[in-house]
Every structure is written in structure tokens, then in C-alpha cells.
């Protein structure tokens, strides 16, 4: 038996009031990614098949290391926001959706951390 009033049941189930933030965050990260991705693809034209030493030299440059860290941050943030939208649109089972969202979120954060750590390790290391 449920004694809650209809208003009590409806409360908290409406708009999460964060739709605009999500929309804006996606656009702002997209905007940041335009120059970063152009720089990255241009660099990859040279380093995609390069030998170990030249890739290390490339990552030893502070500018390249900082740009890569910025790109990885914006990239995985943008990827999470996009994947979140796709999952929310197509998964209708609540438990599956929540687990998928959490897994993708943890995966994006872990990958960003691993990528940034590797860049810094090379940049600071020998």
C-alpha cells in the first residue's frame, strides 16, 4: 500500500535541471577540440609511423606535452558527454542504462588518467 500523495510521487522525477549545462558543456568541449584535434592530426601525419626516439623527442617538448594533456582531457570529456546521450536515448531498461552510464564514465576517466600519466611520464622522464 502506498500512502504517498501524487505530488510527493511526482517530485524529483521531472526535469533534472541540468540539460542546458550538458548541452553547453558539449559545445564548449567541441569548440576546444577543433584546434587541438587539427594540431594532433597534423602531428600524427609525421609521427604515426615514426620510430621510438623521434616520438619521445616529440613528447619531450613542453608545448606538445601540454597540448596532448589538454586534448586528452577535452576528448574524453566530450566522448563521455556524447556516449551518455547515446546510451540515454537507446537503452530503456533503467538498471542496464545506469550500469552502462557508470561503466562508460569510469572507462572515460580511467583512460584519460592513463593517457595523461603516460604523456607526463615521457615528458618528465628520460
Amino acid at each position: 500500500m502506498n500512502f504517498r500523495t501524487p505530488l510527493g510521487r511526482a517530485r524529483g522525477l521531472g526535469s533534472a535541471r541540468c540539460g542546458t549545462d550538458h548541452w553547453l558543456a558539449q559545445r564548449i568541449s567541441a569548440l576546444a577540440l577543433i584546434p587541438l584535434v587539427l594540431w594532433f592530426t597534423a602531428s600524427m601525419m609525421f609521427y604515426m609511423r615514426a620510430d621510438y626516439v623521434s616520438v619521445l623527442n616529440w613528447l619531450h617538448s613542453p608545448i606538445n606535452a601540454v597540448l596532448l594533456v589538454l586534448m586528452l582531457t577535452a576528448l574524453f570529456y566530450h566522448a563521455y558527454l556524447g556516449l551518455q546521450m547515446v546510451l540515454e536515448d537507446y537503452i530503456h531498461n533503467e538498471w542496464v542504462k545506469v550500469s552502462a552510464l557508470l561503466s562508460v564514465r569510469f572507462a572515460c576517466i580511467s583512460l584519460a588518467a592513463a593517457g595523461i600519466f603516460s604523456v607526463l611520464r615521457i615528458a618528465f622522464g628520460g
Binding site: 577543433i34 592530426t41 615521457i122
Partner: protein, 131 residues
């Protein structure tokens, strides 16, 4: 649930395929595909951080025909998502909503991202990618 028996609104199957819907679907698909590409990028960086042996085995993987195929599919996806994303940003600013400009910008996205991919392929195989 009773809601399951209700008639649903018209969905993909009932519409004639047109450039606007194809490009919209492809924007999502390339986005999801690029997330997997980001995984490969992190693998490449981790391998470089681990040392010459790990880096060499990563390069063998990326140099295989499957690796090359994946790489160029991510390359095209990136350029497509980039160009079409810029198109979306213009829409967000309220510009380019007329049918005519929608078609023009749509075909431009195809041509520019295709050309960028082609140029990238030519450059990398001509210059050996810096090796």
C-alpha cells in the same frame, strides 16, 4: 505494461532516406567509433611510455593491414565528425537552417572530410610518416 500496446510515432523505417538523416546518424556513429579510436590512442601513448619494446609491438599492430584500415577509418571519422560538428555549431548559432544551405553545408562536409582523409593518406604514404 499497458503502454506497450499503444501506437508508436513514425520511426526510421517509414521515412525515405535523405541526406539530413544520413548525416545525423553518421555523426553519432562516427562519435561512438572515435571513442574506440581514443582507446587506441591511449594504448599508443602507454606503449611509448613503457619503452622501446612495447612501442615496437604497438607499431607492428598499427602497421598491419587491419591496423591501417582502423587507422584510416578513424581518420575519416575524425574529419567527418569535425566538419559536421562545426556545421552543428553554426546551427546552434542560428545560422544555415534554410533547406538550400543545409544541402550545401551537408555536401561540403562530405567533400571536405573526404579530401582531408585523402590528403592525409597521400602524405603519410609519400613521406613514410617521418620514419
Amino acid at each position: 505494461m499497458a503502454a506497450d500496446n499503444r501506437p508508436t510515432s513514425p520511426h526510421i523505417g517509414i521515412y525515405r532516406w535523405q541526406i539530413s538523416m544520413v548525416m545525423s546518424i553518421l555523426h553519432r556513429l562516427t562519435g561512438v567509433w572515435l571513442s574506440l579510436g581514443a582507446l587506441a590512442l591511449v594504448y599508443w601513448l602507454i606503449a611509448a611510455g613503457f619503452g622501446p619494446d612495447a612501442y615496437a609491438s604497438a607499431q607492428v599492430l598499427f602497421a598491419s593491414w587491419l591496423g591501417q584500415l582502423l587507422m584510416w577509418s578513424w581518420c575519416f571519422s575524425l574529419f567527418y565528425h569535425l566538419c559536421n560538428g562545426i556545421r552543428h555549431l553554426f546551427w546552434d548559432a542560428g545560422k544555415g537552417f534554410e533547406i538550400r544551405s543545409m544541402y550545401i553545408s551537408g555536401f561540403s562536409v562530405w567533400i571536405i572530410s573526404g579530401l582531408m582523409t585523402l590528403l592525409a593518406i597521400l602524405f603519410v604514404y609519400q613521406h613514410g610518416g617521418g620514419t
